[in-house]
């Protein structure tokens, strides 16, 4: 039987188990995800300080409440309580003074960790963060762009953030950093990560329809792995030894990423015509015109595929205007040529 209430009970039990993970460093604690930055322990310290004081006072208040509700309850026939003073200066000073002193420490340690998190150290590695509805883009100093955030471990990294449209906010719970991204200005934050692993970056300022899907994966890696990744990201056409790809290899790689679903290289028609043996041949279009498959035809087909639709095929291809650099288009041409005519 699968009653909702049963699965809810099972979930409650599970929630209690999740709440107490076996290894707090790997999975976080009852209250927090792992501490993966130098800020995290500072921020959590204040949290736990306030937490234990709160727990103490809550227990005190509840205990006093229950005790008095029972001890001084109305007893049948005895309407009046006992005589007691209506106020007490000493008592009131005590219970104002003690919370006052305790809050000073909350205020001060909170301020300290805030200033630590709000003051990017000089010479940090700088990553540009571009937020827009509803995705993230990260731009690295060497020009690399990506939708994933990669960071070298044990390095100061500064984020310079801007928004293309509305408010967003940059939050990585494992680092305890958060900063709003405001259209029309740059905001900054920074992090010194301490633990390799994979984390999640959330947008946490409401930004419209897909706000809840505006997340990015965060990878904290050792310096060598990070260096390799960021170099490859800046120029994806390098082989294992750092040697540049040939144009044909560039074209092959792009084909594998963007075109293979619709164009075959074995002569069979998929969604669009096959590329095998097409170079230099005469193409016939839906309106009866013909044209030679050359460099200019290729480029027009790529940028404006609807202008001349090959006979027998649907106008299913979307424009790739602005997607490829010239060197990449050259690579595609070299690759198609290499498939023979």
């Amino acid at each position: 039987m699968n009653l909702p209430i049963l699965s809810t009970l099972a979930n409650l039990v599970q929630a209690a188990q999740v709440a107490v993970p076996s290894d707090p460093t790997a999975e976080g604690t009852f209250w927090f995800p792992v501490q993966a930055s130098t800020l995290a322990p500072k921020s959590d310290w204040t949290f736990y300080y306030i937490y234990w004081i709160s727990a103490f006072f809550t227990a005190l208040i509840v205990a006093a409440m229950i005790f008095m509700a029972i001890r001084y309850r109305y007893r049948k026939g005895v309407w009046d309580g006992e005589e007691s003073p209506g106020h007490g200066l000493a008592l009131e000073l005590t219970w104002s003074g003690i919370p006052f002193l305790l809050t000073i420490a909350m205020w001060y340690t909170g301020f300290k960790s805030y200033m630590y998190g709000d003051t990017p150290p000089p010479n940090g590695y700088e990553i540009q963060v571009k937020a827009r509805q509803w995705n993230w883009e990260f731009i690295y100093p060497n020009g690399a762009k990506s939708t994933e955030l990669h960071l070298p471990v044990e390095q100061d990294v500064t984020f310079v953030m801007s928004s293309a449209d509305v408010l967003h906010s940059f939050w990585i719970p494992a680092f305890r950093v958060k900063k709003d991204i405001v259209p029309g200005r740059y905001t900054k934050t920074w992090v010194h990560s301490t633990l390799e692993g994979q984390y999640t970056l959330f947008c946490t300022e409401y930004c419209g329809k897909d706000h809840s899907q505006m997340m990015a994966q965060v990878f904290v890696e050792d310096q060598a792995t990070f260096d390799g990744w960021v170099a490859k990201q800046a120029n994806p056409y390098l082989d294992e030894d750092g040697q540049p790809f040939t144009p044909v290899a560039i074209g092959e790689k792009i084909y594998g990423q963007h075109c293979f679903a619709c164009h075959s290289i074995d002569g069979s028609a998929v969604v669009g015509p096959s590329w095998k043996g097409s170079w230099g041949t005469e193409r016939t279009f839906e309106n009866g015109d013909t044209r030679l498959f050359d460099e200019n035809y290729f480029k027009e087909s790529l940028l404006d595929p609807g202008a001349q639709v090959v006979k027998g095929f649907p106008p299913a291809m979307t424009s790739y205007r602005g997607v490829f650099k010239d060197s990449e288009i050259d690579g595609l041409i070299a690759y198609i040529k290499s498939l023979g005519n």
Binding site: A15, I61, A69, E82, W107, F111, K178, D180, S212
Partner: protein, 560 residues
């Protein structure tokens, strides 16, 4: 000295044959154009309960949708509308106007021994402005909805194509309604106190409503103008808050919170005011440290204006501004904490009776303790950075706005209901409602603290699977809470039909509204009762036969 029963000329403690304010005149027009503060209070009661139910439906839709990580019911866009309408209806139509409009209007003039508020027609106007605001909000529902969140943050609120203009116009009317109510109470308290009732001889309910009124009058205009500017920016492209036209989005946040932080005290001070009455009456003791509690209401009202920046620690405002706001936030937490200790101490050596209103009062103490203490985590700049805009915030403000304020509202309703309608409700059902609400509320919101600090952002239509367990617990709680609210409302309303007749003073309360007939006559009092020392319960004796607390002559003069 002879023993004299001082209730009204009506010979019976059950109201007698004389017409009361409910049946003195008949017909829908006699209600629509009434200038009787009691009838206006009743209309506000019905209206705000209606708003609570409308907002509650959206709340349940939100919780149901979050049953599964990818969302159970609707697409993201529609979910965003659900949480926006839930928040806007609850805040602007229920929590802000609720206690002052319904219970303040009904009880405050009676407590002062006055015949009405200072400006009865303005009072009627206030109610109708509330109703117009409500109509605007309902219009929003059918003209494209609203998906900005109740905070209307720019520039999204300038760009979205939902009905922002309708919504801000509605809020604008509601603002005027709130200002008129506040204005009326300020003047009423200053001008219409009986000659021999000094400031420190007023029940604390009046102190609380008075402090609230000051904030309503001073802060609400700022919201009005801000929303007007937003509407102009949206329709005319004026550059105020939108950076594309040279405006500044953060400026909107400053304006918004300059009103909306004081607004949280517009909400909580009346709730605290009710709790003071309940703790005193049901402990049969004067509120411990009365003077300090009275002053702390005013202190909270004043300091409340100076802390708005604590909503903006991550907004990009300067760190030094944040430091000042954090400092002031902690300062204001002290008077709030003091009140909790004072309420607790009121029970000390009292004679504590656990009738339904007292259940709500004790529940309030737990809720406000949790809600207030979690405010500390947010007032501290460092911890707020992590917790801001997560479910931790959602839970914090629900502990204060629902756990504390809605519970106080229900406590107050159960307390004054017999006076309002002349009927006693079923105690067992009343307590059942309170218990279900208490359990349901905590099951709903406590898990949200944990979710929030573990990494669950707020206003998410979909979420990561790791949060599913906690979300499901929360949803189950919400349905228990909804059941509790329904039971509470049902218990009250059904008593109008089948409740026992209420005596003049069923709780042994010492303030003046209990010295007139139940329900009160149209002009409240035939003659103004003599002012007695505030919270002096010693001359009230329970009459086992009638179930009423009779006033007996004060013999203390003979003694001293």
């Amino acid at each position: 000295m002879e023993t004299k029963v001082t209730h009204d000329k009506n010979d019976s403690i059950y109201g007698g044959a004389e017409p009361n304010y409910l049946n003195a005149s008949k017909g829908i027009l006699s209600w629509m154009f009434t200038i009787d503060h009691k009838r206006i209070g009743v209309m506000y009661t019905f209206g705000t309960i209606g708003a609570l139910m409308l907002g509650g439906v959206f709340a349940l839709l939100v919780r149901l949708h979050l049953w599964v990580p990818e969302g159970l019911l609707v697409d993201n866009q529609t979910y965003n509308q659900f949480f926006t309408l839930h928040g806007a209806v609850m805040v602007f139509l229920f929590v802000i106007p609720g206690i002052p409009g319904a219970l303040g209007n009904f009880a405050l003039p009676l407590m002062l021994g006055a015949k009405d508020v200072a400006f009865p027609r303005v009072n009627l106007m206030s109610f109708w402005l509330w109703a117009i605001g409500a109509v605007f909000f309902v219009t929003v529902l059918v003209t494209g909805g609203l998906d900005t969140g109740w905070t209307f943050y720019t520039p999204y609120s300038v760009k979205t194509d939902t009905s922002v203009i309708w919504a801000v116009s509605g809020a604008f009317f509601l603002g005027f309604s709130s200002i008129f109510t506040g204005l009326n109470f300020i003047v009423t308290v200053h001008r219409m106190r009986p000659k021999n009732m000094g400031w420190f001889n007023m029940p604390l309910f009046i102190w609380g409503i008075y402090s609230t009124a000051v904030i309503q009058v001073l802060a609400t205009p700022v919201l009005g103008i801000t929303l007007l500017l937003l509407a102009v920016e949206r329709s005319a492209g004026l550059g105020i808050f939108n950076s594309e036209f040279g405006g500044d989005p953060v400026l909107f946040q400053h304006f918004f919170w300059f009103y909306s932080h004081p607004a949280v005290y517009i909400m909580i001070l009346p709730a605290m005011a009710i709790i003071s009455e309940l703790m005193a009456t049901f402990s049969r003791k004067k509120v411990f440290g009365y003077t300090l509690v009275a002053y702390s209401s005013v202190a909270i009202a004043i300091f409340g204006f100076l802390v708005w920046g604590h909503h903006m620690f991550t907004s990009g405002q300067s760190a030094w501004a944040s430091l000042v706001f954090s400092t002031l936030t902690f300062s204001i937490s002290i008077p709030s904490a003091i009140k909790v200790f004072n309420w607790l101490s009121t029970m000390y050596k009292g004679s504590v009776r656990l009738d339904t209103p007292m259940w709500y009062a004790l529940a309030f103490l737990w809720m406000f303790t949790v809600g207030g203490l979690t405010g500390m985590f947010l007032g501290s700049m460092g911890t707020d950075v992590h917790l801001h805009d997560t479910y931790f915030i959602v839970s914090h403000f629900h502990y204060v706005m629902v756990g504390s304020i809605m519970f106080a509202y229900f406590g107050g309703l159960h307390y004054w209901w017999p006076k309002m309608f002349g009927k006693m409700y079923n105690e067992v059902m009343g307590k059942l409602g309170a218990a279900l609400m208490f359990i349901g509320f905590n099951v709903t919101f406590f898990p949200q603290f944990i979710m929030g600090s573990r990494g669950m952002p707020r206003r998410y239509a979909t979420y990561l699977p790791e949060f599913q367990n906690l979300h499901q617990v929360s949803t189950v709680g919400a349905f228990i809470l909804g059941t509790g609210v329904a039971v509470g409302i049902w218990t009250l309303f059904s008593s109008i039909v089948n409740g026992k007749k209420a005596p003049q003073n069923p709780w042994g309360a010492a303030s003046m509204e209990w010295e007139t007939a139940t329900p009160p006559i149209e002009h409240n009092f035939h003659e103004i009762p003599t002012v007695k020392p505030v919270y002096d319960f010693s001359t009230l004796k329970f009459n086992e036969e009638t179930g009423n607390w009779d006033r007996i002559a004060d013999t203390s003069e003979d003694n001293n």
